[in-house]
Amino acid sequence: VGEDEFAALHNVANDRLFAYVAVRLGYADAMDAVSEVFEVAWSKRLRAPGTVDDRVGWLFEIAKNKIREEMRRRRRRPHVSSNLDYRDPLSDHAEAIALADLGMHVYRSLSPSDRLLFDLLFIQEVGRDNACAKLNITMQALYTRASRLRSRIAALHEELAYVEGEPA
C-alpha cells in the first residue's frame, strides 16, 4: 500500500474507527487510540490486504487489540479517569457532549445482538449485504431486526432522557 492508498484508507476509516473505539473506551480516549491504530497499520502497510474492504477490516482487527490492551490497562488502574477534560462543563461543546453521552448510554443499554447489528450498519458500515452475511440472516430478517431495533432505541432514548432530564 503506497502513501496515496493509505491516505485513501485513512479517509475511509478514520471516523468509523473513532466511533468503534469510542463505544468501547469512551470518546475521550478514542482519538489517541485511533492514531495508534493507524500508526500500527502504517508500520505494517506493506502487508496490508489487497482490497479496500479487507483493509478496513484489518484496521478494525488492529483496533480490537488496541482496545483489549487499553482495557487491560484500565483493569490495573481502575480509579483513574481519562474523561476529566472531556467532561469540562465549561467546554463550548458541553451540550453536544451531554447529548452524545446520552446516546452512548442508549447504545450500551442495547442487547449484545442489537449492538452487533448497530455496529455493522452504522459504525463499521459494512453494507447491508455484508451485514446479512456476517449475521447469517436474510435481507428480510435484517429489515425486521432493524425495525425492532428502531423501536427499542426510540423507547430507550425517551426513557433515559427522562431519567437524566434531557430533552428527548
Binding site: 493509505f6 491516505a7 478514520n14 471516523d15 468509523r16 473513532f18 466511533a19 469510542a22 463505544v23 470518546y27 475521550a28 480516549d29 478514542a30 482519538m31 489517541d32 493507524f38 500508526e39 502504517w42 508500520s43 505494517k44 502487508r47 482487527e61 488492529i62 487489540n65 488496541k66 483489549r68 490492551e69 487491560r72 490497562r73 490495573r76 488502574r77 480509579h79 483513574v80 481519562s82 476529566l84 477534560d85 472531556y86 463550548d92 461543546h93 453536544a96 457532549i97 452524545a100 446516546g103 452512548m104 442508549v106 447504545y107 448497530f118 450498519l121 452504522f122 428480510q140 429489515y143 425486521t144 432493524a146 425495525s147 431495533l149 428502531r150 432505541i153 426510540a154 430507550l156 432514548h157
Partner: protein, 352 residues
C-alpha cells in the same frame, strides 16, 4: 422485500441520529479534531527523519508508570532476540527472602523495619538532583503488547526508553523510543522510527508542584496521596493498594526530594500489608530492598514489588509478578509480568 421494508434501515438511522448515538455523532461536534490523512502521512514521513510527534489529549501519560503492560525479558544468560514475539518471560529477581520460583507468593517479612530504615537512608542522603525548572524522569522498561497482527492472543515484547520533562506550568515534553531488547536493562538494539515518538502535553496537564506540596509531615503526605486517589476511608488493604499506586505514579512524573521519599516510606511503614522481600540487586545492578504488598483482589493476578535503594532511599523501579496464569497473553505464573526502572530523575534547565 418492499420499499417500506428497505426503508427500515434509513428509519433506524434517523432515530439513531436523533438519539446522538455513536457512529452518528461527528468527532468535531464534540470538540475532537481527528488527525486528517494528510496530517497523518506528514507525521509518518517526519518519523523517518526524526522522532514522531503525536497529537494527544494528554491525560494518558499521567499513569504511565503504573500502566506498563508487561515487561518480559529473556533469561539473563540468553542473547536478546530480534524477534520480541519469541521472547520468553524472565525469571524473577532473587531477593533475600524470595527466589525466582516463589517470588510471586513468598510471604517475606513485615516491612515496617525495612521501610523505616529506608526512610532514614533517604533523610540522610544528599543525592545530586540537578538544578533548573524542569523535572526530567528517565525510565527504561520492557513492555509487552498484544500483537496487533494476531487474531489470537499473543504477546510481543518491546523495550521502551522514556524521558519526560515536566515544566512549571504543568506541560510536559515526552520522548519515547521503542525497539528490540538487547539486554536486561531494557536498552534498545535499534530504534524503530514508528516506535519513536515525541509528545507535547499542554500546560495544566499536571500539577508541577505536586511533589513539593504533598505535605510537611507523614500524616499530611498520606492524606494528600489518598485524597488524590479517592481512597479516603477505605479498608487498610485498599489503602495500602492505593498508596502503592500513588507512590509509583509520583515517581513516574516527578523528582522526589529526599524529604518526601522519607515521608513516603514512613507512610508505607504504617500499613501492615506491606511485606519486605529483603535485599536485591535490580536489573541495572543497583542495590535495594524489595517491598511488596499482600496479594488481594484489587491487584488481580499481580504482585507488585517496589525496589528502593538502600543508599539513596529513592525508588529504583518496580516489578510486577504474575501470580496466576494469564490466558490473554498466554503467560503462565509465576513470571515477571512487567518491570520498569527509573534510570534517573533530576531537575534540569532545559525543557528537552
Amino acid at each position: 422485500v418492499t420499499d417500506d421494508e428497505s426503508d427500515e434501515i434509513d428509519g433506524l438511522r434517523r432515530v439513531a441520529e436523533s438519539a446522538r448515538m455513536p457512529g452518528t455523532v461527528s468527532p468535531e461536534s464534540l470538540g475532537i479534531q481527528l488527525e486528517s490523512s494528510s496530517e497523518f502521512i506528514a507525521r509518518m514521513r517526519a518519523t523517518q527523519a526524526g522522532p514522531a510527534v503525536r497529537r494527544s489529549r494528554g491525560l494518558r501519560v499521567a499513569v504511565a508508570f503504573s500502566v506498563i503492560v508487561v515487561i518480559g525479558a529473556l533469561a539473563v544468560a540468553s542473547p536478546w532476540r530480534s524477534s520480541p514475539a519469541a521472547a520468553a518471560t524472565p525469571p524473577a529477581l532473587r531477593f533475600e527472602f524470595a527466589n525466582e520460583v516463589n517470588a510471586a507468593y513468598a510471604p517475606g517479612k513485615a516491612a515496617r523495619g525495612d521501610l523505616l530504615r529506608l526512610a532514614a537512608a533517604a533523610r540522610t542522603a544528599s543525592p545530586n538532583q540537578g538544578s533548573g525548572m524542569y523535572q526530567l524522569v528517565r525510565t527504561s522498561s520492557w513492555d509487552a503488547h498484544l500483537d496487533p497482527d494476531s487474531a489470537n492472543s499473543k504477546a510481543i515484547v518491546v523495550a521502551t526508553e522514556r524521558s519526560t520533562w515536566l515544566a512549571p506550568d504543568g506541560s510536559m515534553h515526552i520522548e519515547e523510543s521503542k525497539g528490540d531488547i538487547v539486554n536486561a536493562s531494557g536498552q534498545l538494539a535499534a530504534r524503530d522510527p514508528i516506535g519513536t515518538t515525541r509528545e507535547e502535553l499542554s500546560k495544566g496537564t499536571f500539577d508541577a508542584s505536586r511533589s513539593s506540596n504533598l505535605g510537611s509531615n507523614t500524616t499530611a503526605v498520606k492524606q494528600s496521596l489518598l485524597s488524590r486517589a479517592d481512597c479516603l476511608n477505605k479498608s487498610s488493604l485498599q489503602t495500602s493498594t492505593c498508596l502503592y499506586r500513588e507512590v509509583a505514579d509520583l515517581y513516574s512524573t516527578y523528582v522526589v526530594s529526599p524529604e518526601l521519599a522519607a515521608y513516603l516510606w514512613t507512610v508505607l511503614a504504617g500499613q501492615p500489608e506491606f511485606r519486605s522481600l529483603g535485599s536485591v540487586t535490580d536489573r541495572l545492578g543497583r542495590t535495594g530492598v524489595g517491598i511488596s504488598i499482600d496479594n488481594n483482589k484489587d491487584l488481580g493476578n499481580q504482585r507488585p514489588i517496589l525496589i528502593i535503594s538502600t543508599t539513596s532511599g529513592q525508588l529504583l523501579g518496580q516489578e510486577i509478578l504474575l501470580t496466576r496464569n494469564d490466558p490473554e497473553l498466554n503467560l503462565k505464573a509465576p513470571v515477571v509480568y512487567s518491570f520498569s526502572s527509573i534510570v534517573s530523575a533530576r531537575y534540569t534547565a532545559s525543557d528537552k
